[in-house]
Amino acid sequence: MGGRATLGEFEHLVLATALRVDNGYGAELIRELEARTGRQVQGGALYVTLDRLEAKGLIASRLEEPTEQRGGRPKRFIDVTPAGIRALAEQREAFLRAWQGIEHELDHA
């Protein structure tokens, strides 16, 4: 598990955001994702992705005490595991290699 995990685009975004918002929970991740990507994020999509990342061992999550502000619901806090960080690093490397020498093409876009 872990080392060779491939990431879909949304998985990549979620994992990177979880790393940025260290020890963040669902609502924080959605806010951050929306602010960074400029697109609306569906909570259901995020949670399905989180479940998948957790199954791959790339993140670990835990539920904290319920609070009144959230209608008595607990927060699901997310930590990126070392395997998750490794997967992000590998994907980034792959992207950088893929872009090497062609970034100037983007100027014509």
Binding site: G26, Q42, G71, R73, P74
Partner: protein, 909 residues
């Protein structure tokens, strides 16, 4: 307060998510994000939240259903059928709109009735361990009545029962609450033991809960307040804990605030420790209480009852005098309140009849419309059949077409019912039933959504499969006939019956609206008989007896009487008060009625005048009542202070009494007595005669919504017998400005007396009228929708049946048949169906009038009261209107058929 997403959507979200991290985390996250979005616009936030719910539902469902390739192929076929269904909807927009609205309407009505019904029939306790919460009652096996003086038994149960934990007791009291000099309507207080409160599993939002130490004699008086009270009366003060309020004349320290929505055990605002202080030391002593507990995790209800039964037998052996017939029994908490909840729901019988009629109307209507649509597509279906589509395939497709329409209708119906449930149903039930218990919270539940989906599938099956089967029956032979140029789809007996029933119900339904209008008008016009706008009314209720040895009930009664008298006296001293008097019921608010007998003397006993068993509406009044109301005494005299002390039994009657009971003969000097039962408090007094000493004008006796006139009878009031009295205060200027003064005086004289209903006598009908009007508007709206749908259905089906005969009409015209003869022949069938329907509808109305008066439901009498010449005229007019709609439905296609060239007509189909 943090804004919350619409409850229905929130519950739906929780229902579609799998249990665990997804449900807990995502629901909370979306709550939080919703609150972020509300400042930018609530509607936008709701739309955003709805999209989130749909997306979550789709994603989590999609994860569950990843099918095989065969399944995918079937799904693709299904997709095509659904798309065809969508296109069909657009191809016949008028028909789709009418039948879609009809289905939405049926779903709306069905869901609302389902939700209200489940509130009564299968309520659930929204507490963490709701299914384990029980009440322990003690049934007297001899009288079959529950014994509520349970403090002694409670102590015994608390120490010996092992299958039920956290045994607690409580009793209800009402108290006036004063905080920083401001008071308001009385609050519902639960005097409850700390364990009893723990059963709810809730913890306070601020401060602490009640503790066992608070129950000890000599402990400082404390109170826990509810969220609503904290919001409305304590100004959301975050530092409220530790502050002192005055509750029923006693200073109490607020120790905590319970969270929003918490009203356990029933509908309480304040919780104070139940202090037994030595009460209940003897069997069957102390005040009535209820006992609540939590079933142990490893115990069943049956095990608890076995244990309680054994304990009951031991106690019966030890205390035979008091406990010989007592049987303790644990029941689920809600059931412990009353088995009558389902019965109360049945009291909505009249509404139920209306609902059933409307739903029947709509179902028949949709089936007719879709049948007409299917019949119009007969040639298309024949072609499909010819190129190899099986009958099953065609029927399934028609079902799916109806389902597409049904799903759109269900969406509309659910949105409308969610709105109606949260806005109207709650206030309506509260008006009729008083404050609702906390577990009765009308809203659209996931259960009701499932019910609606079930209705949709069922409705679509009826509306799609039945016409589908009918249209595809004998398809092969029709194919041949069609090639030969004859035949076609015909209406069968079932459809004829459906049309007749449809017309009948369409005729009968508006009569309910008519009577409703009559009732509202009647209520609004009910005369007070005095200048009601000058009077302020107020209800004073005696405080509960304090718990403790001796219980001093008589002292409390005497002190209440003294307090009321003192309040009245002080009010009269106020500058703006012209007079004040006491009465048991405010005029025009409905009085208890009693069967009476008039002493006609030995010679005239058999020929009693007026009604055979006359009834009189009875009110107890203070001596100055007529003087304060400025009602002239028409004959005889008013009551005086001596009437009570002398022990003589006297009564005053109103003019309607003289008219109705005595047939206009002189009343003063005659005697009356009560049959069967007598007004409180003179139990066993039915043999006693009362002398009529005076006659007064009619002063709003009776129930405004019922048919009058009513015979009114007044008795002198002994304040010491009353738990509750009303004051009528005549004021200078606007009576309501006097309200704070009244509150102040009552609080000063006796803080345990609670003050309610401070309204001008002119406004006492406002509540009843607004509910009646609300009901009326709702009924009118529902009926108009139902009628429009129904009429359009009847029109299209009749027009269709006549249009089917274009060919025949053409042939007959070509062969030289007279137009008149053709008209008569063509119209005979459809119009005779309509005539039978109108007749059946009139019969329904008639049966309603004849049968309803025998039922116990009070509306029946009112209905009978509404029958006038005008009503009959309206019925005839409406029948004629119905008939002309149907006539029009036949005339238009017949004329069209006659106007085309016979050769053209022969070419149709």
């Amino acid at each position: 307060m943090t804004p919350r997403p619409p409850r229905f959507l929130r519950r739906l979200l929780a229902a579609v998510l799998p249990e665990g991290t997804a449900r807990d985390g995502l629901v909370g996250d979306l709550d939080e994000l919703y609150a972020d979005r509300v400042p930018r616009g609530r509607v936008k936030a709701v739309v955003w939240y709805t999209r989130q719910v749909i997306s979550a539902a789709v994603r989590y469902r999609a994860r569950r259903t990843r099918g095989s390739s065969g399944q995918r192929a079937r799904l693709a076929g299904l997709g095509t059928d659904l798309r065809v269904g969508g296109r069909m909807m657009l191809k016949y927009p008028g028909l789709s709109l009418v039948s879609g609205l009809a289905m939405a309407f049926a779903i709306f009505v069905g869901v609302v009735v389902f939700e209200v019904g489940s509130l009564y029939v299968s309520p659930t306790l929204p507490l963490p361990d709701g299914d384990r919460v029980v009440q322990i009652n003690s049934l007297d096996a001899e009288s079959l009545r529950p014994e509520r003086r349970l403090l002694f038994d409670f102590e015994e149960w608390r120490t010996s029962v092992s299958t039920v934990q956290e045994l607690g007791a409580w009793r209800d009291v009402r108290r006036t609450l004063v905080f920083e000099g401001a008071d308001g309507p009385p609050v519902e207080v639960a005097e409850i033991t700390a364990a009893g409160l723990r059963v709810s599993g809730a913890s306070p939002m601020l401060g602490r809960t009640l503790l066992e130490d608070d129950e000890r004699a000599g402990a400082a008086p404390v109170a826990l307040i509810g969220f609503n009270l904290w919001r409305t009366r304590f100004g959301r003060d975050p530092d409220v804990v530790g502050r002192v309020a005055r509750l029923g004349g006693q200073d109490v320290t607020v120790v905590g605030v319970m969270p929003e929505g918490f009203e356990f055990p029933v509908s309480h605002d304040v919780w104070v420790p139940l202090r037994t202080e030595g009460a209940g030391l003897e069997p069957l002593s102390g005040p009535p209480v209820r006992v609540v507990g939590l079933l142990s995790p490893d115990a069943s209800l049956a095990a608890a009852n076995t244990e309680l039964l054994a304990l009951g037998q031991r106690m019966a052996a030890r205390y035979p005098a008091s406990h010989e017939h007592l049987m303790p029994r644990a029941t689920p908490f809600i059931k412990g309140f009353s088995g009558g909840l389902a019965g109360e729901f049945l009291a909505f019988g009249a509404i139920g009849v209306l609902v059933v009629m409307l739903v029947l109307l709509v179902c028949g209507n949709v089936a007719l419309l879709l049948f007409a649509r299917a019949a119009a597509r007969e040639s298309e279906l024949l072609v499909r059949s010819a190129v190899g589509a099986s009958r099953r395939r065609i029927v399934v497709q028609m079902f799916l077409e109806a389902l597409v329409l049904g799903v759109a209708a269900a969406g509309l119906g659910l949105v409308a019912s969610a709105g109606a449930l949260s806005r109207w149903v709650g206030p309506f039930l509260e008006f009729n039933e008083g404050r609702l218990p906390f577990w009765m919270d009308p809203h659209l539940s996931p259960r009701a959504v499932l019910f609606a989906l079930g209705l949709t599938v069922l409705g679509s099956a009826v509306a799609g499969i039945l016409p589908g089967l009918k249209v595809t029956r004998g398809m092969a032979s029709r194919l041949r006939q069609s090639a030969a140029g004859s035949g076609g789809l015909q209406f069968g007996g079932v459809w004829t019956a459906v049309i007749v029933a449809q017309v009948a119900v369409t005729v009968a339904v508006p009569s309910i609206v008519y009577f409703h209008v009559w009732q509202v008008r009647h209520t609004a016009q009910f005369e007070a008989g005095f200048a009601a706008e000058e009077y302020l009314t107020v209800q004073l209720t005696r405080g509960s007896t304090a718990i403790g040895p001796g219980g001093a009930g008589a002292d409390i009664a005497a002190s209440f009487a003294a307090a009321v008298d003192e309040v009245r006296r002080r009010l009269v001293d106020e500058a703006d008060v012209l007079g004040a008097t006491v009465v048991s019921r405010i005029p025009r608010t409905g009085h208890p009625d009693y069967r009476i007998e008039v002493d006609e003397g030995p010679s005239a006993r058999a020929s009693a005048v007026g009604a055979e068993r006359p009834e009189a509406e009875v009110a107890h009044i203070g001596p100055s009542y007529f003087e304060v109301l400025r009602a002239p005494i028409r004959a005889g005299r008013a009551f005086d202070a001596g009437d009570l002390s002398s022990g003589e039994r006297v009564a005053i009657v109103d003019e309607s009494f003289v008219e109705l009971v005595l047939g206009g003969r002189g009343a003063v000097g005659r005697r009356v007595r009560f049959l069967n039962r007598a007004p409180f408090p003179v139990e066993g007094d039915s043999e006693q005669w009362y002398d009529i000493v005076g006659i007064v004008p009619d002063l709003g006796m009776g129930r405004p919504s019922k048919r009058g006139p009513f015979a009114g009878l007044y008795l002198p009031m002994d304040l010491a017998d009353q738990d509750r009295v009303h004051l009528m205060i005549r004021t200078r200027g606007d009576p309501t400005t006097l309200a704070p003064v009244v509150r102040g005086i009552v609080a000063d004289v006796d803080p345990t007396v609670t003050v309610d209903g401070l309204v001008a006598a002119d406004d006492v009908l406002a509540g009843e009228l607004s509910t009646n009007r609300l009901m009326l508007y709702a009924t009118i709206l529902l009926t108009v929708i139902a009628l429009l749908l129904s009429l359009s259905g009847i029109y299209s089906v009749l027009a269709f049946t006549v249009a089917r005969r274009t060919r025949e009409i053409g042939l007959r015209a070509a062969l030289g048949g007279g137009r008149r003869r053709i008209f008569v022949d063509i119209f005979r069938g459809p119009l005779s169906r309509v005539a039978v329907g109108v007749g059946a509808g009139s019969l329904l109305i008639f049966l309603g009038l004849v049968l309803l008066p025998d039922s116990s439901f009070s509306m029946a009498e009112d209905l009978a009261g509404g029958v006038t010449l005008q009503a009959v005229g309206l019925l005839l007019g409406y029948g004629a209107f119905m008939f002309s709609v149907c006539l029009l439905a036949c005339v238009v296609p017949t004329r069209r058929a006659l106007s085309v060239e016979p050769t053209e007509a022969l070419r149709t189909e």
